[in-house]
């Protein structure tokens, strides 16, 4: 009896061992690789995760939780439904992987052969992306209370430099990563948020949403600047850096969760610069319908929708859906012109704590005429565990966390832009603002932005009409007056324009923009001394700005004070090395001073800033020609002619440059092109004659000189040339 039992036990043990060998799940073989690939970017010492999973001992401590949160798909955090948009850095486990973790935990979390375990990944204790070029730090950290609801706080970080920089990457390092759900950065071009909260901004301002004043230039936000625990570094794609100018602020909006003890809420932002300005210009576009948010208490399925027709071909690069605590299901899709439905994202169960920007693995092409739709469903019943109100109350849109939002942001890159067409982002802006106005016809923001887009597209009469409509609703509004003035100026009605600027300055004496535009108008209309006065007032009263210095330089130049002008242009370049006016005019001054090589360097900079500026290319060609770089001059002149084919001067200059490099036939063709545009130019005929003579076509040359003399009987050169011609 005894020995039989012993034998039986041995057999059973043998069977167990065999099974374990076949399919044992161990840390070293299966679990460590899975954890290192999916978990440890957050779960490492000092990381954003609440505990580390780098070692076997760590993982064993948390094994039971790992099995629970992976099977419920709470971890890794990922909200979008698979198959509705193909996203980069999609972080999900397969069913098999989840089963593997469960089995490992059930079988006692064996380590296996420790020597076969992969080496744990290394995480820097400081900057993951290396030493930044500039570090901004929250000036006064906020003490997050030990307990209570989550807190949303906005910290202002002024950009301290006096030069413009392009940012190719950014890293955010919260002082205590564990307490940060996520963070968003906004660029405040006009420091408007700081000015709106003068007593408070240093401590941070509470609030989930904020509005900033984007200023007068059409300069739409281009990049999502979003931090989440597993993505501390944001590296922008090639050619798409973002920009910071002197006077800009970064606003860091942090979603903070109390930890049980008072915590220091602070952060450092590391910026990595590039010298290369953007070669591609994406834009952030918004769908929203906050006005429709009026959700009765108890309502379980309240739907909010918006749709936006896209007026140009675009690639969608990223998407950022946003609601607060009542949001449940989020859908976004595009209906293509052929009625095909293309999903952009589906989030079946929204959770604000895990919100994120999602970037597409490859850009999603939407042809012109596609319509982007958003459809959000809200649950304001007590069955929604996220409901901030017990019992539920009526909820509308607002920036407190207990209010709601219905926003969908897209990062789009216009593609297939026909040569010579206006900035496609203006068409996107126009479509966006028209859509907004349809929802709220009296809102000053879309009225103003629509008019600005139209003005920038050169549609001045329509822009002027919309500015006037905005002024009728909001009389005396500083910026609208100024922009109406600018549109009038550009439409040619500069007298009316100057009246608007003066009206704006009289009503708002501190205004810098109207004064700047008035000064520019005066400069343009031979009122240089008036312009000088305005620029000097601005230097005393307005924030340091490269364009004020370069404007003053241009006024001084017009008044004949070349040295003083040069000093102002240099001051402008100190602030912004890319200031076009300063580069262009300094280049011109260098040409006049007989320094063509120096001029070429400056004018190259000007052409980089405004590749479509014909004058700049023409001046650069002259600088090259005078430096003996004839083939470079030819290239610039050809570019200029592509931009302005009906300009005879350009053809004439190209002819000259070609002739000096021995390309006689092409030079003749260009001189003829010039004459085709201005047949009565005696110099051109004379020069054509010279070229024909060199080519051995004496009869033609004679005809050309005679034609020159016919147009200008006293043309000495033509007469001499004619006399020197050998008999034909």
């Amino acid at each position: 009896m005894k020995s039989a039992g012993w034998v039986l036990w041995l057999i059973l043990a043998g069977e167990v061992a065999a099974t374990a060998q076949d399919s044992a799940v161990t840390w070293s073989h299966q679990i460590a690789p899975l954890v290192y690939n999916n978990c440890t970017t957050c779960h490492h010492p000092g990381g954003a995760g609440p505990f580390s999973l780098l070692t076997y001992e760590d993982a064993k401590r948390w094994g039971t939780q790992m099995a629970a949160v992976t099977s419920s798909r709470y971890m890794p955090p990922w909200l979008p439904e698979h198959g509705y948009g193909d996203f980069a850095d999609e972080r999900t486990l397969t069913g098999d992987e989840i089963a593997l973790i469960a089995k490992w935990v059930q079988t006692g979390m064996p380590q296996g052969d420790a020597s076969a375990s992969p080496a744990p990944p290394q995480y820097s204790e400081t900057w993951q992306y290396g030493t930044p070029d500039l570090i901004l730090t929250v000036e006064r950290p906020f003490t997050l209370p030990a307990s209570g609801t989550d807190i949303f706080r906005n910290f202002v970080l002024p950009y301290p430099l006096q030069q413009t920089h392009y940012i190719r990457a950014m890293e955010i390092r919260p002082a205590v990563p564990r307490i940060v759900h996520h963070a968003n950065i906004l660029i405040d071009r006009t420091a408007s948020f700081r000015r709106a909260h003068p007593a408070q901004w240093k401590e941070g301002v509470p609030g989930m949403e904020l509005e900033v004043d984007t200023g007068n230039e059409f300069d739409p936000d281009s990049n999502f600047l979003f931090w989440k625990p597993d993505t501390p570094v944001l590296v922008e794609p090639d050619g798409m850096p973002w920009r910071l100018d002197p006077g800009n602020d970064l606003i860091l909006n942090m979603h903070l969760k109390p930890s049980g003890k008072p915590e220091t809420a602070s952060a450092e932002i590391g910026l990595y610069f590039t010298d290369q300005p953007p070669s591609k210009q994406p834009m952030l576009l918004q769908l929203e319908h906050d006005a429709a948010l009026d959700i009765p208490p108890g309502e379980r399925s309240f739907v909010v929708e918006d749709a936006l027709r896209i007026p140009v071909d675009v690639e969608v690069l990223g998407i950022y859906p946003h609601a607060h605590y009542l949001g449940k299901r989020m859908e976004a899709w595009a209906t293509l012109p052929d009625q095909q439905k293309k999903w952009l994202i589906v989030i079946p169960s929204w959770d604000i704590d895990r919100q994120s920007v999602y970037r597409y693995r490859s850009p999603v092409f939407l042809p012109k005429g596609s319509v982007v739709h958003m459809r959000y469903t809200y649950d304001n019943s007590s069955a929604n565990e996220h409901n901030p109100h017990t019992p539920p109350v009526r909820v509308k849109a607002g920036n407190r966390s207990e209010d709601e939002m219905a926003h969908l942001w897209l990062q789009v890159l216009p593609v297939h832009v026909p040569a010579g067409s206006p900035d496609p982002r203006l068409l996107l802006e126009e479509a966006w603002m028209r859509n907004w106005l349809n929802k709220d016809p009296r809102d000053i923001i879309p009225l103003y932005n629509l008019a600005s887009a139209l003005a920038a597209e050169g549609k001045y009469p329509e822009a002027i009409a919309i500015y006037r409509r905005a002024l009728a609703l909001h009389p005396g509004e500083e910026r609208t007056l100024n922009e109406l003035g600018a549109a009038l100026e550009n439409s040619g009605d500069w007298q009316q324009a100057q009246k608007m600027f003066l009206q704006d300055i009289a009503a708002h004496p501190g205004t810098c923009n109207a004064r700047f535009n008035l000064a520019r108008s005066e400069l343009k209309h031979d009122q240089a001394s008036d312009a000088e006065l305005q620029f000097r007032t601005m230097l005393a009263e307005c924030p340091a700005d490269a364009t004020i210095h370069s404007g003053l330089g241009a006024a001084l130049d017009s008044e004949g004070h070349a040295d003083a002008a040069g000093a102002e242009f240099h001051a402008a370049l100190q602030i912004d090395p890319h200031d076009f006016t300063a580069l262009y005019n300094l280049g011109g001054l260098a040409l006049q001073a007989g320094q063509p090589q120096q001029a070429a360097g400056l004018l190259q900079g000007a052409v980089e800033q405004r590749p479509k500026d014909v004058d700049a290319r023409q001046q650069l060609a002259a600088a090259y020609a005078l430096s003996g770089r004839m083939s470079d001059a030819v290239v610039q002149l050809r570019e200029a002619i592509a931009l302005s084919p009906a300009n005879p001067d350009l053809h004439a200059q190209l002819s000259q440059a070609l002739a000096s490099t021995g390309q006689l036939e092409q030079a003749i063709a260009e001189r003829k092109a010039a004459l085709h545009l201005r047949a009565d130019d005696a110099d051109d005929w004379n020069n054509l004659g010279v070229l024909e003579a060199r080519a051995g076509r004496i009869a033609e040359a004679r005809g050309d000189f005679l034609r020159a003399l016919q147009l200008a009987p006293n043309h000495a050169q033509a007469r001499t040339n004619l006399q020197r011609l050998p008999p034909s």
């Binding site: 039971t64 307990s147 959770d351």
Partner: protein
């Protein structure tokens, strides 16, 4: 809401010499209920469990509120990694001044049937022993790992303590405790 007068009928008859746990100086804890106590609350905590830590202010609030009414609150650390040194540093970090017990043999966890941190148990002193009348979550802020209300709507533990003090039937938790499993002791 389920109302059960007594969760478990078993009494813990404890002789004063029985070592239940140790304090931070290694001295045995033999008596959970001081003389005259009307209730004993054990708060099962883990120094490395985020949800457990997030409940510390709430437990301290309850301690302040009910201490003078005869309620003795203990922070109980059942995990083997929570040594005296670790817990002392943790108590200091979180400004915990309450009575602390290291449940190094998990005697208290077994006595209370606690499996999770954070989890609370309420006992009534009865005939020289302790009688468990409540065990479970502190409130309903966490419904599952990853499912969290912006704030609690039901304070289960507080309701239980109030019921005990009022001599009323003790309401039972409306949902499971959510947090980190108590780590099994290695033999």
């Amino acid at each position: 809401m389920p109302m059960i007068a007594l969760l478990r009928t078993g009494l813990l008859a404890l002789a004063t010499t029985t070592t239940l746990a140790v304090d931070l100086d290694g001295r045995p804890v033999t008596q959970l209920a001081p003389a005259g106590a009307r209730a004993v609350v054990l708060f099962f905590a883990a120094s490395d469990c985020p949800i457990s830590n997030r409940y510390i202010p709430e437990i301290q609030r309850l301690t302040r509120q009910f201490e003078s009414l005869g309620v003795r609150v203990w922070f109980v650390y059942p995990n083997p990694g929570d040594t005296a040194k670790v817990v002392r540093a943790h108590d200091q970090e979180f400004s915990i001044t309450a009575h602390t017990a290291l449940d190094n043999k998990q005697t208290l966890a077994q006595m209370a049937y606690a499996t999770t941190t954070p989890e609370a148990a309420v006992f009534i002193p009865e005939g020289g022993g302790l009688h468990e009348v409540y065990r479970g979550r502190i409130d309903d802020r966490y419904l599952a790992l990853g499912t969290e209300r912006p704030q609690a709507t039901r304070h289960d533990l507080e309701e239980a303590i109030r019921a005990v003090l009022a001599g009323k039937p003790v309401p039972q938790p409306g949902g499971p405790p959510v947090g980190c499993s108590v780590v099994t002791l290695q033999p």
